[in-house]
Symmetry: C2
Subunit: 192 residues, 2 copies
């Protein structure tokens, strides 16, 4: 609509980008489209983001912060675990998640604040695995089992969100129960 003062355009552009990502994937995010959606000239977003990958970096930063919150949030039942939280985050924030998991869209190394948020989320996962394994676990084991847990969560999330074989899972009536089941298999099999 009308031009929005200052920082609020940044917010507007970011929201538009996330919405587009949720609807049509990150590749559908274009500088000119988000500008159009915000009702400003095609060059206005450049005042808030260095370039297209700057928008992706901002989405990552926000997304990883939200992911950390989701991973640390108290879970609905004792039986549910962090892997489940991860998958639910992905399904509840598809716009963010799709960008976060596309390393080619922005090099996190070039965006320290986004990188920090990503690291923090990963550290939360590592800590969880450590507490599951107990004191005596070696670094090597912790690394292996963290990658394992991450793989299950990430694999299941992408399978459900954008998987090429999603139709294969059509028969599943209760998607949440399904996620719960898979996550449980994963976490209960973490061991030294």
């Amino acid at each position: 609509m009308s031009s929005l003062k200052s920082e609020s355009l940044r917010r507007t552009v970011l929201d538009a980008a996330v919405a587009i990502s949720a609807a049509n994937g990150p590749d559908a995010i274009s500088m000119r489209e988000v500008a159009r959606e915000a009702g400003v000239s095609h060059q206005a977003p450049y005042h808030h983001f260095t370039d297209r990958s700057g928008i992706f970096a901002a989405i990552c930063e926000e997304g990883f912060r939200q992911l950390s919150e989701a991973l640390l949030a108290p879970r609905p039942s004792n039986d549910s675990n962090m892997c489940e939280s991860y998958v639910h985050f992905a399904l509840q924030h598809p716009g963010h998640f799709r960008v976060m998991m596309r390393n080619d869209l922005c090099q996190l190394a070039d965006y320290p604040s986004a990188r920090m948020e990503a690291d923090r989320a990963f550290d939360i996962l590592v800590d969880e695995v450590k507490s599951l394994l107990g004191e005596g676990a070696s670094d090597e084991i912790v690394k292996t089992q963290t990658a394992y847990m991450w793989s299950v969560g990430h694999g299941l999330a992408t399978l459900l969100l954008d998987g090429p074989l999603e139709l294969k899972l059509e028969g599943i009536d209760d998607i949440n129960a399904f996620i719960h089941q898979v996550s449980r298999t994963a976490v209960t099999s973490i061991h030294v």
Copy 2:
């Protein structure tokens, strides 16, 4: 270089596309770039592929066929499993794999022959899970455990190939041993 007769241009274009995908990801594949690489006019590839997503579909078809072969191929040791084969395929065919796992690039539903190959690969996975579970397993369990195994393999493959957190795994000296370890954890925990 010089114009290549008939079907061989199709092959040349496909190879160029896969090479670009391996080097810079599928988004870097452009009709004009592959044409340039093949030494033909920017419009020539359209005679072999309906459009850009037609190229992606062709890469998928080829990739899933190769994946099926890889999954069925005899494994180097009794200790290694199908999950491991999956991950190794991804790392050995990054150009294909990156396209295959990007559902947004081409709608498999619109390309029946590609879809068939994808189904076949998935069926191989389902059969393996069935044989791991034994005769008595219900459809629901088979589905859950297949999704589980797929998630681990796919998650680990994308983590290693394009993961946003790949630097976290820097310390790992023997990547193959690592893959083996994670895959083993996954497959040994498949149960009813």
